[in-house]
């Protein structure tokens, strides 16, 4: 028995020998016999599809549930971050999100996606935190605090030359596999030691990704190197900015600055 699952469609297509069947998340006790003529309509243009080979019905049900819960959690998170929407809808979404976050699998899957990209400019995380309660508030607060790391990991990713992947398409596939496997999240969280980072990534990596990209570990090495450079550059910039501020006297007591200016003027005169 094989299956194709879509959390966004909230259904699974089951291929059981010559028979086609479907399972709807909203009606999990009912297995519907399907025809070939259903297929063009079944998933629409949904591309969040994932395949289960040689599987069982309990596993299909469990994967469908996991996909649907994750899709709901992502939709609700994005609604809660949307400043174009009124507070009552955002609050409602946050309440739904809070309930979803109780499930550790949903929480983990959501983090894998949200930790792979810094907040876009039109997101309103501060507003979302203001409206959020308990688990949802904690989750968003942590996400906000990790934004510098998330940005650094993404910058380092973008600095990997495309030739390492072979083509732009391969790069896209690698990125999506890395997001799903939680590689971006591990890099955001993992300690500074590059050896340790590499070991964690090797552990995180799913086997099919290594089959698809035999040079995965080399790509990770370049990525970690880039990450070190990005962090160093960011630290240097911060240092330069602080030094510049010190020269300009930013952050000092303006009365003292005024006194020093007068003194300098007197000496010059």
């Amino acid at each position: 028995m094989h299956a194709i699952i879509s959390g966004r469609s909230r259904r699974a297509l089951i291929i059981d020998g010559d028979l086609l069947k479907s399972l709807d998340f909203d009606n999990p006790s009912k297995i519907v016999l399907r025809q070939k003529s259903d297929l063009p309509y079944f998933f629409g243009e949904n591309s969040d599809l994932h395949i289960l080979e040689n599987t069982t019905m309990p596993l299909i049900k469990s994967e469908l549930k996991s996909d649907c819960n994750f899709t709901s959690a992502l939709d609700l998170t994005l609604i809660s971050l949307d400043s174009e929407l009124p507070d009552d809808i955002r609050e409602e979404a946050l309440e739904g999100l809070r309930k979803r976050l109780v499930d550790p699998i949903t929480r983990q899957r959501l983090a894998k996606v949200l930790y792979a990209e810094p907040f876009p400019e039109d997101a309103d995380p501060v507003g979302a935190v203001r409206l959020a309660r308990r688990e949802a508030r904690k989750f968003l607060t942590e996400l906000i605090s990790l934004q510098p790391s998330i940005s650094a990991v993404k910058q380092a990713w973008e600095a990997i030359p495309t030739k390492n992947f072979g083509s732009d398409e391969n790069r896209r596939v690698f990125q999506q596999s890395a997001v799903r496997a939680g590689v971006f999240r591990e890099l955001v969280w993992s300690p500074e030691d590059p050896e340790l980072k590499l070991a964690i990534l090797e552990y995180t990596l799913p086997r099919n990704m290594i089959e698809l990209f035999p040079n995965s570990m080399e790509i990770f090495q370049v990525w970690i190197e880039n990450l070190r450079s990005v962090k160093k550059l960011s630290a240097d910039r911060k240092e330069r900015r602080l030094a510049g501020d010190r020269r300009k006297g930013v952050g000092r007591d303006p009365r003292k600055r005024l006194g020093r200016d007068r003194k300098e003027k007197k000496l010059a005169g």
Binding site: H2, I51, L78, I79, L114, V173
Partner: protein
């Protein structure tokens, strides 16, 4: 009374389409756009052969399937949200077909060894009325009322195998700008109405007993959708 192309989707998919121009949503949704790579093996042939249908040689991946509708309601067996599309956005890239093309091909034994499609079952978007008259003329007479036209054109059945409709083939993507109206149909509407009524009464009690309210989260998504789509002049019923 004009017919429109309608596609049926889930609430989540409508949200994705409705927010495709917003960076906030697109940034994260894009990470999940993996596409489907079917594994090798004969068991997958049933899915694979539909993808290589003779009706769309080498361009099947660009085709979206919809149904022709007079009341804006599509095939509810495939999703609770019916998206009626704007004529001006699809008329140059849509055609219509007598019925579900997979059923048609099987019945008329159109296959790789016999690839000729019989004439008279396919029309351009502009000529869709002619195709509908050719298909339905025997079911309409002087006693047929205007209210009945929509159910003659698109007959919803409890099972998708018994749905009868005129299939619309749309080349290219669908976006928020292609949508004219979204109608959300309760997923159980086609089932026993008495059970539905009872469920409405029992709903709050079921929640107290620890059974989650049906499609609770989707109500939030539908509220968000109403506001998102209002910006583009697309109503949600």
């Amino acid at each position: 009374m004009f017919s429109t192309a309608v596609i049926a989707r889930s609430e989540s998919e409508v949200l994705r389409l409705a927010t495709s121009t917003r960076q906030l949503y697109a940034t994260y949704y894009q990470q999940l756009e993996g596409g489907l790579r079917l594994p090798d093996g004969n068991e997958w042939d049933v899915v694979r052969e539909i993808a290589d249908t003779l009706l769309f040689p080498k361009y099947k991946q660009y085709i979206r399937f919809g149904a022709l509708s007079l009341d804006g309601i599509g095939l509810a067996n495939y999703g609770p949200c019916s998206i009626a599309l704007r004529d001006e956005m699809i008329s140059h890239r849509a055609s219509v077909f007598e019925e579900n093309s997979v059923i048609f091909m099987k019945r008329h034994e159109v296959e790789a060894s016999n690839p000729d499609l019989p004439k008279g079952y396919r029309a351009t978007w502009a000529d869709r009325a002619k195709l509908c008259v050719a298909k339905l003329e025997q079911t309409i007479d002087s006693t047929t009322t205007a209210d009945e036209y929509s159910t003659r054109l698109l007959r919803q059945a409890a099972s998708s195998a018994d749905d009868d409709f005129v299939e619309v083939h749309i080349w290219g993507p669908i976006s928020v700008r292609t949508m004219r109206k979204v109608t959300v149909v309760a997923p159980n509407e086609l089932e026993n109405r008495t059970i539905l009524k009872a469920l409405k009464v029992l709903r709050s009690k079921l929640a107290e007993l620890g059974v989650p309210k049906k499609r609770e989260k989707n109500e939030t998504i539908i509220k968000a959708l109403r506001l998102k789509l209002a910006k583009y002049g697309v109503p949600v019923d």
